[in-house]
Amino acid sequence: MKTRVFVSLKASVFDPQGRTIVEALQSMGYGSVSDVRQGKYFEVDVDTESADEARSLVSEVSDKLLANPVIESYRVEVDE
């Protein structure tokens, strides 16, 4: 089963990379770009029977390894 995990810094955490990107875009003339948050994207293939099982497994590995809950949050997508 194919799943995707999107990890990003929590809104309360300053993201200097995102800040630098948004400043670059604005200096390129994209004044309507008001914010950028940089994150990480994982494609995780799992051998499970159901989408629910896949979601729960991938959430578990996200909590344990893919994301640091002190500074990051994540979202899981599963192909149904």
């Binding site: 810094l9 955490v13 300053f14 200097p16 990379q17 630098t20 390894l65 640091n68 002190v70 500074i71």
Partner: protein, 230 residues
Amino acid sequence: MKFAIIEFPGSNCDHDAYHAAKHVLGQQAAFVWHKDAGLGGADAVVLPGGFSYGDYLRTGAIARFSPVMESVREFAAEGGPVIGICNGFQVLLEAGLLEGALLCNRRLKFLCQHVHVRVEQTDTPFTGAAQIGQVLSLPIAHGEGSYHAPPETLEALEANRQVIFRYCSEEGGLQDAANPNGSLAAVAGICNPERNVVGLMPHPERACESALGSEDGRVVLESVVAAVAA
């Protein structure tokens, strides 16, 4: 006394720590490979600086699952002195042995320079020989050293006097210009509630001889030698 210096793939300050412990302080020191279980009867554990696992995923994130970390966790739980320097600090945070996290430096630059650090607390095995308010000149070399913790965590750290080192000016002032990486509350190093586990971004082990520009780091290692002897 005997220092155990943990080596992860990508550690690169392991020999600095070994040299400082063995040749400068004249103590026993041994490397412990990250796949080993057990710490060889060490009295203190050093998690050295470097780039464990190439900093893949997040700094320290993969090293925390190395087999040796189970021994480090047990050693710490029994009250044994553990110090994480730079990448070692990052590993201790990821392992949950210390609280908070380290983010990219605020100006996104890898910083390799000497900084001043103020000793905030002396009731830890790594600061017992120092004075409160003592200013140390220590090198830093990191890209991800901006200390972050949620407000309630920082509040608890301050209330329990767990902030051990802060970035400061040469005179010991806490102005923003003296904070190289944008760390919250100028935090350069902290300890756990039991005070036996300490992590810091600056490198005391690289500042133990005048030929290296500073001897100020010796007090950190001398403190633990005294603590173990006591």
